[in-house]
Amino acid sequence: DARVTQTPRHKVTEMGQEVTMRCQPILGHNTVFWYRQTMMQGLELLAYFRNRAPLDDSGMPKDRFSAEMPDATLATLKIQPSEPRDSAVYFCASGLGGTVNTEAFFGQGTRLTVV
């Protein structure tokens, strides 16, 4: 069945290390979102792409975070260097953008712990 796949599901890393999270959107979806979820801030939009082009990454700390879509089947979110405050669940979602009813289909998330 069609679903958004995220890897890894869990990641524990030491402060200062590079972290890469991957997302395979649903085939045919042209919009990909990256969200970060924490207890304090809820679901924050970090960045989103349409047709592989970044449309908005204003929610992302630019100095350490980067998001890319090397091709239509892969989106990546990278943190370098990672910090303890980056500990959160990171969700990727995809949808059919360009229409009003842009339902976002979420993956199961990557739980990141930075120690």
Partner: protein
């Protein structure tokens, strides 16, 4: 996130009761008003959504009520069940990005 205010942040309801969650927004450009449901360890999933040309939409036990002039919409869960225990997010949006509320943790007790 200040564009969307969701309340309450937590809610405990007896089985069979009515759960009501509210969402207020500021951006008048929003024209799609969904509610998402999230279970522990899972990503959010669309529960029900409404367009601004109608004031109410019902799907089973779930109803959205929309008040365009007040810039508010709400989720009503009738005959609440323990299986409805989850976190609910309003996420008004449109052509551009979706803005999620802070979430409401609903607990339905037997």
């Amino acid at each position: 996130q200040q564009q969307v205010k969701q309340s309450p942040q937590s809610l405990i309801v007896q089985k069979g009761g009515i759960s009501i969650i509210n969402c207020a927004y500021e951006n008048t450009a929003f024209d799609y008003f969904p509610w998402y449901q999230q279970f522990p360890g899972k990503g959010p999933a669309l529960l029900i959504a409404i367009r601004p040309d109608v004031s109410e939409k019902k799907e089973g036990r779930f109803t959205i009520s929309f008040n365009k002039s007040a810039k508010q919409f709400s989720l009503h869960i009738m005959d609440s069940q323990p299986g409805d225990s989850a976190t609910y997010f309003c996420a008004p949006g449109g052509y551009q990005k979706v803005t999620f509320g802070i979430g409401t943790k609903l607990q339905v007790i037997p």
